[in-house]
Structures are given as C-alpha cells and as structure tokens.
Amino acid sequence: MVEFGFLTDETLCIGCKACEVACKQWNGLPAESLGLTGASYDNTLTLSATSWRHVMFAESAAAASTGATAELPPLRWNLLSDVCKHCQRAGCMDACPTGAIVRTEFGQVFVQPDICNGCGYCVPACPFGVIALEPRAGLAQKCTLCYDRLKAGAEPACAQACPTDSIVFGPVSDLEERGARRVRALKERGLRETTLYGTSEIAGGLNARFIVTRPVEDFNLPRAPRIPVDNVLPGSLAAIAAALSAIVCIFALTSGRR
C-alpha cells in the first residue's frame, strides 16, 4: 500500500490563503471569521471543525532587515499552512470508541461521518489540537486529505490551489526525499535552523510533514508529543493494583463482625 501525504514548506508560503479557501469550497465548509484577531494577519487562529487548512502568521525578529527604525523593530513573517498531520500513531484513532476513525487505502486518518456519534473523546486525545466537534452536525471533523478527490484520481484541493507549491501532495516516501533535499539546500543558503518536522520520532511519523526555519514551537508544533495511548498501560496496571488492594481490605473489614 502506498501512503500519500503533504509536504508543506514555510519558505515558499506567501500567505495568500488560497489553500484555506479551496478547502472550504471543495468540502462545503462555512466561513468562520473574517475579522481581525490581533494575531498578525491571521483570521481563524487555529484549525477547527470547519477550517481544515490554516495559514499561520508567526512573527520573528529578522537578523538583518531593511526598513527597521528605532520605533519599529526588524520583524519578519514566517508563514506556514497548518493541516491535520495524519499520524502513523494517531491519538484520535486510538481513542475513538466506535471505530469511526479509520486509516484508508491512501494512508490518511479519516472520520466516517455515518459512524461517528459525537462523543468527543478524540478531541483531547490529539496532541496537535486538530480534530474538533462540529456542534450542528454533532460529529468530529477534520481534514480528510480529500478522500473523495483521491478516489477520483485528483490531488487534494489545497495542494492544487497552492500557487507556489508550498503545499505538495504525493507518496510519503517521495515527499520524505524531497523534504530532506530541500532542508539541505536551505541550510546551505544560511537558514541553519531549518528542520523537517514529522519524521518517525513524531507520533510514529506524520503523513503531513512540514519544513520550518524557526523552532517548531513557534508554530505550536510539539517537539516530542506523548501519544495518549501510551498512558493506557501504566494507568491500567495502577488500577489493577489498587483494585486488588481494595478488594482485600473490604473483605477483611466485612468479615470482622460475627
């Protein structure tokens, strides 16, 4: 099975939000907010149940910038289009009690809308804060990696709309190679902090990976996410130990009076 995914490159993003618009149009998602948030030029602030692509406007101090004055410190934009990571070890998929969240033949993590009953347990189980409940539909929703388009042989709407190829779609193995090549090239050009986020130590490997030139935390990306299912075994062992002790104590206390 060939797994497909995204490679999103911060250095190529121009912040046009064509990916956000294309995603909403194809998937029939309503607009959320067109107002100013105070967070740079960001309108939606996060991914949500109805925003499956989100262009981040991180700001950082530029090393050497033209146009800086005493009043205005030299700033630069770091633009990155965020999306569901389609983890190999997906927290949402582990947590789902109904089996609504599955991995498809293209390797993406997909919520079956006819199975999900809106329990919402997947929401706090995602270490990236991606999946969310849509209150009107009563379902958990997130990026589907355009499952319907892949079925028809087309690429996802966001990747097709991206005018700079900041978003590239393809087989994960190809993207891995392409990403490594791009990171090498950027480092040679002096962007020493450039990293490829989403290799196997992040949630078992992400099918949607990112090239960033800043510390990953600047984009709210956790450096070493702890996968929730790893807490099930320690929690269960502690529960069994406590249950056995409780049963012995209750037995002793109930056999005392004769």
Binding site: T37, G38, A39, T46, G91, D94, A95, C96, P97, T98, G99, I115, N117, G118, C119, G120, Y121, P124, A125, C126, P127, G129, V130, I131, L133, P135, A137, G138, L139, P215, E217, D218, F219, N220, P222, R223, A224, P225, R226, P228, V229, N231, V232, P234, G235, A238, A239, A241, A242, A243, A246, I247, C249, I250, F251, L253, T254, S255, G256, R257
Partner: protein
C-alpha cells in the same frame, strides 16, 4: 518497585540553565483542544463511582461471613443498578448524535478506555439488574426450593459483579489519563487508583445513608470501609499533587484550587478524623451528615479534576513543555 515509584511520585526534572527557555508558542493560541464536556460527564464520573463502589462493597460483603452483610449486599447492588439507570441518560445526552449511542458497541477496542468502559458498563448494569431481580423474586415465590435457586443465582451474579464493578470504578481515571492534556496525562498512574478509592468511599457513604437505624452492625461495617477508603484517598491526593508539580497549578491554585482544597478538607479530612475518633460509637445523626459530606467531596473532586484539565489544555506553555519531552 523503581518503576512504580517513577510512575507515582517522580518529580519533573528541573529545567537546566543550558536547556531551552520555556517555549513561546503561536500568539498565545492553545496547542491542544479542550473536551466539550459540561456537567454531564463529571456527574457521570461521580454517579458511576458511587454505584460501582457500592456494588463492589456489596459483592464482597455477600461472600464474606460478617453479621449484617446480607443487607449490605442487597443495598450495594440496588445502588449500583440505580446509578446505571442515572448514568445512561447522562452519557447518551452528552453525545453529539444521541441516536447513535449504540455505535459504542460496534467494536471491542482495548486501546480505547471509552470503548472498554462501554462494555464494562453494559456488563455491570446487567449483573446488578439480574442480582436485584433474583433477590426480589426470591422473597415473593412461595416454594422454598425456587427461592433457594433464585438466591443462589443472585449470589453468583454478585460474585461475577466484582470484576466489572472494579472496572467501572477505575476506568474513568484511565480515560482521563489517555489524553494529551498535561494535567491528566502526567497523573496517568495516580488518577485510576484515586477514582477507585473515591468510588469506594462514596459508595460506602451511599450504602450507609440507605440503611435504617435497626441495621447497626451493617452501618458500623460500611463506616469502617469508608474511613479506610478516605485514608487511602488522602494519601493519593498527596501523591497526585506531588506528581503533577507545575502542571498541577490549575488544580491546586487558580482557578480551581479553592474548591479542590475545600473538598479535600470537608469531604475527606473531616469525615476521616471523625471516623477515626469515634470508631466504636453507635451511628447517629452526625454520621448521616458526615456521609453527605463524603458524597459532596467525591462530587467536587471529580468536578475540579475535569475542570482543571480543561484549563490545562488551554495553556500552550504547559502543552509545549509536556509534549516537548518533560512528561
């Protein structure tokens, strides 16, 4: 032993001077998403705790030889049944699509605490129902032979009930731990025992309140169980606070600290001290009031832990720190 100590009390390593500063994040936007749970789910944690604790006490009492144990056994299973009847509407009403509640039983998924909890609740509800029905019928049938069979059936159902009762009492702690929320995930080995012991203390309090003045030995027995459980609960609260370290701030300080410590004082320390000081006394009205305090304490404990988890999920610095290797 070392591993257990690590899981229960190991403190966070200090951030060394050479380490990276606290992560900055993106415009202060939360990294994680808080669960939508309002009052249904914390109330379910409390109600299922009372019911499973009472049923666990009842099931064990039914098998041991103490005086007054038969009435504890019957009351325990009845409270368990009542709790399931209250819990199911709460759980179903909390769903985004209540009409699809039966999808919970599409799969059997040990990786998902919510899936396993659904199955355990199904088994728990059926066994408490069977035991209660068999006991009730046994008191009505005339023939001695049939009554004996029915009582045997009830005893068997109660014996099997020990497993799902202990499961329902503790899995809610595993359910919170198996999330990305720093405050819950950090307490992965403390929350399940704490919820189990709180289920036993509140279950004992509920059985006591259901007993009449004439059930003196039964009341004395459940009072002993409650006192022992409260002692364990206090020890686990201390472990929880120590284990959480800086991630525990939403629970032990603002915004939930006052409520949390109030519940520990009035719902745990006070009933425990009275239980120890008046261990041999005849149960009276003051005891009823103390049992109510234990129940309210058990409810506020669940409420504050759930609410503090939401506050923890909203904190991007805690999330980036926890999911940056300090977990």
């Amino acid at each position: 032993m070392r591993a257990i100590c690590d899981l229960l009390i190991r403190r966070l390593p200090p951030r060394g001077s050479d380490a990276r500063p606290a992560p900055r994040g993106y415009h202060g936007v939360p990294v994680l998403r808080r669960p939508h749970w309002k009052w249904h789910i914390p109330l379910y944690f409390f109600v299922s705790g009372v019911g499973s604790g009472a049923a666990l006490i009842g099931a064990i009492a039914g098998m041991s030889a103490g005086r007054g144990n038969d009435v504890i056994a019957r009351r325990g299973q009845a409270i368990g049944l009542l709790a399931v009847a209250t819990a199911l509407p709460l759980l179903i009403d909390d769903l985004g699509r209540p009409a699809r509640f039966h999808h919970m039983l599409r799969t059997f998924k040990p990786r998902s605490p919510m899936s396993m909890g659904s199955w355990a609740l199904l088994l728990f509800g059926n066994l408490t129902g069977l035991a209660t029905a068999a006991d009730g019928l046994a008191n009505r049938v005339g023939a001695v032979r049939y009554a004996t069979w029915l009582r045997g059936g009830a005893a068997l159902a109660r014996a099997v009930l020990i497993v799902p009762a202990a499961f329902v009492a503790s899995y809610t702690g595993v359910l919170l731990a198996a999330t990305a929320v720093p405050l819950w995930a950090r307490a992965r080995a403390v929350l399940p025992p704490l919820f189990l012991v709180a289920a036993v203390s509140t279950g004992a309090a509920a059985i006591d309140l259901s007993l009449g003045e004439e059930d003196r030995s039964a009341r004395a027995t459940v009072k002993d169980i409650e006192t022992a459980a409260l002692a364990g609960e206090l020890a686990l609260v201390a472990l929880l606070v120590r284990r959480l370290g800086e991630y525990g701030r939403p629970l032990v300080a603002r915004p939930w600290g006052q409520l949390f410590w109030g519940a520990v004082l009035l719902g745990q320390i006070v009933p425990l001290l009275f239980g120890l000081a008046h261990a041999g006394d005849r149960p009276g009205m003051r005891d009823r009031a103390l049992r109510c305090a234990t129940l309210v304490g058990g409810w506020v404990l669940r409420w504050t832990i759930v609410q503090a988890g939401k506050t923890s999920a909203d904190d991007p610095v805690a999330a980036l720190d926890f999911h940056g290797g300090r977990n």
